[in-house]
């Protein structure tokens, strides 16, 4: 069975912003939590045949992450880019992604990372799944086809759960699920020379600009300041045993150990 898997990826800021975030290859990176999702999609398609489409939303300077995903093995890249999408919160982002996914369909699976390195909400995957009306399992650590059904395992605190899903479905992939492959030089050459990135705008998706961007965002970031870390060095006194006891006491008190 040939699969069409859409993987939603994000370029995340790697440098703390001063006045605002401008994402480019020098200041941003492919969200590390998206890499296991990409790996899972690419290896499933390698086994079963089909296509991996990578989708990201952002300005044209984010296109580099699509190239990176295609260098890993994804087949085509879609950049959802429109000035009217600026300042989208997670709901507006999910709304736009859902419209793009409907446009790119039919699909068998939509995969997400569990969260992002920069904003860390973990909301976009589940929200998008609701909007495209697909069954969702989060924090998936493995998946396997059994006939037409997808058998998935998920990991939550202290438990493992197993589900059976009919397709199409959406999954968020746990960071420990698979080790993402390194990018081969030949893959980079191929991504830039033979694979294409298509750009989608709001007009292509035929959605009302009022439900995306800042207009469609019920939440907004009102301030962003750099966290300053204050470190201090303190020397414990007493015998080695006393020092160790004091140290363990303090670590316990801080809640780091039980």
């Amino acid at each position: 069975m040939e699969l069409h898997i859409i993987v939603c990826i994000k370029s995340v800021a790697t440098k703390a912003p001063g006045t605002g975030i401008v994402r480019s290859a020098d200041t941003a990176d492919l969200n590390p939590f998206d890499r296991p999702a990409l790996e899972m999609a690419i290896s499933m398609v390698e086994e079963q045949g089909g296509t991996v489409t990578v989708l990201t939303m952002g300005p044209p300077s984010c296109a580099f992450i699509l190239h990176e995903a295609m260098a890993m093995g994804a087949n085509r890249g879609i950049l959802l880019s429109d000035a009217r999408l600026a300042d989208s919160d997670t709901l507006a982002t999910s709304t736009a992604l859902a419209a793009a996914i409907e446009r790119l369909g039919p699909f068998d699976l939509v995969l997400f990372g569990t969260r992002t390195y920069d904003s860390d909400t973990g909301q976009v995957g589940p929200q998008t799944a609701v909007l495209i009306d697909a069954p969702l399992v989060t924090s998936v650590i493995s998946c396997e086809f059994k006939g037409n059904l997808l058998h998935v395992k998920r990991k939550i605190d202290g438990f493992k759960e197993e589900y059976e899903l009919s397709l199409p479905a959406a999954l968020t992939i746990h960071p420990s699920a698979v080790k993402p492959r390194d990018i081969p030089l030949g893959g980079i050459e191929e991504a830039f020379d033979t694979k294409e990135i298509s750009v989608l705008t709001l007009d292509d998706l035929k959605i009302n600009p009022g439900i995306v961007g800042s207009a469609g965002s019920p939440t907004r970031v009102i301030s962003m300041t750099r966290v300053t870390r204050e470190r201090k060095c303190e020397f414990l006194t007493g015998t080695t045993g006393e020092q160790a006891e004091e140290l363990v006491g303090r670590i316990k008190k801080s809640g780091l150990i039980g």
């Binding site: 030089l185 991504a191 830039f192």
Partner: protein
């Protein structure tokens, strides 16, 4: 960041750097101390295409341009000079001559395995009595029906201890002077192919540099690269490319020294402030950063000229001369900024210092490069 790099070039840098930081940086000090060649890394790099960077895809390579090649070497060398050396020598002076001068049969026979890193290549030009004076080599390869009988004593062969294929420069016509030198691909395992002891070197310690000796070694005649008498032509063409690689390696080592020094200068406190607040340390960091960037631009210029199909010999020689001299200076400053710790094996800068030193010697000494560059200038304004 160099704004003229293409997105593809940047993607190469990001991916190679990510791999090197995860896999090579953590073991670089250990493999230097143990003088160990890390096969596990070689295997991974082979799968990622690092051993066939510019080899066409139909022969199993990554099919990339010279700019991607130098960025790859720069990044590997930033993590470990010895591995940068292994990869650049393999790509430039071992694989390239076969690609450029070999027959279709030779390419199909050797290139795919070399490009995947399943076989490692080496370049056997230097001898105990011939190095800078390449025309002075004494090795001989005498044709006897369908093979050559090769007698050679090759010294300081990079990758020598593990190489599967070594390009041997030998005299096929002892009476023809410079025009009597040819290149023959000798394969490890042939009778009379002897790998000597590993050299106990100051730096580049995890590269198995060794001597390779051939005693009445019978090499099939079809292993001749190009034609008889083309040896020096092939060698010089390979060295043009090799020199850009060595220059990129020197830049990578210096970049690592610069980054470590800046980090140390921010962290090390003396007189109640970080030493980076002291003007004398700032001056060193400024000079280091400026020199690294200048050398990098020279390396990139040579690579761009090659990619544009223009003559790049002079640019390559200048890049190699400047980058190697720069790398020695910058790593020396890095040791100075680190003070006593810089002279200790507890910090990586002493390794950079040792590794950088040889870039002024191999693939043409600085003195030979000055001769080449001066000749080019004098010829231009004749």
């Amino acid at each position: 960041m160099n704004t003229f790099l293409t997105e593809k070039n940047r993607a190469v840098r990001r991916s190679v750097r990510a791999f090197c930081e995860r896999e090579i940086v953590p073991i670089a000090g250990e493999i230097d101390r143990e003088a160990r060649f890390p096969w596990e890394i070689i295997e991974m790099m082979g799968k990622l295409g690092y051993f066939g960077i510019q080899v066409p895809k139909n022969l199993g390579g990554a099919g990339m341009d010279a700019m991607s090649y130098v960025i790859t070497i720069e990044e590997i060398s930033r993590a470990c000079g010895s591995l940068g050396l292994c990869v650049t020598v393999h790509n430039s002076v071992a694989v390239y001559p076969i690609l450029a001068f070999g027959t279709e049969e030779q390419k199909e026979r050797w290139i795919p395995q070399l490009a995947r890193g399943e076989k490692i290549g080496a370049f056997g030009l230097t001898e105990p009595n011939a190095g800078s004076d390449a025309a002075g080599i004494e090795a001989t390869a005498i044709r006897d029906n369908d093979h050559y009988v090769v007698n050679a004593n090759k010294a300081f062969v990079t990758n020598g201890g593990i190489a599967d294929i070594c390009l041997i420069f030998a005299r096929t016509d002892p009476n023809a002077g410079r025009r009597g030198i040819s290149v023959i691909a000798a394969e490890r395992g042939a009778q009379g192919f002897i790998v000597g002891d590993l050299e106990d070197l100051c730096g580049m310690r995890s590269n198995p540099v060794s001597s390779i000796r051939l005693y009445d070694c019978k090499v099939p005649a079809e292993n001749l690269i190009g034609k008889e008498g083309m040896g020096l032509q092939i060698g010089l063409a390979a060295l043009d490319i090799g020199r850009v690689g060595i220059a990129a390696q020197a830049v990578g080592i210096a970049q690592a020294a610069l980054e470590d020094s800046a980090g140390y200068a921010n962290q090390r406190q003396q007189f109640g402030v970080s030493i980076g607040r002291h003007q004398s340390i700032q001056a060193m960091l400024a000079d280091m950063a400026t020199q690294v960037e200048a050398a990098r631009l020279m390396v990139y210029r040579a690579a761009i000229l090659r990619d544009q199909g223009k003559s790049f010999s002079q640019a390559s020689a200048m890049a190699k001369l400047h980058a190697s001299e720069m790398s020695s200076t910058v790593t020396d400053m890095a040791v100075q900024i680190h003070g006593g710790y810089g002279y200790s094996k507890a910090y990586a800068v002493e390794r950079y210092y040792r590794d950088a030193r040889v870039t002024r010697i191999y693939e043409g000494t600085s003195e030979i490069h000055r001769m080449i560059i001066a000749k080019g200038i004098l010829d231009e304004y004749k």
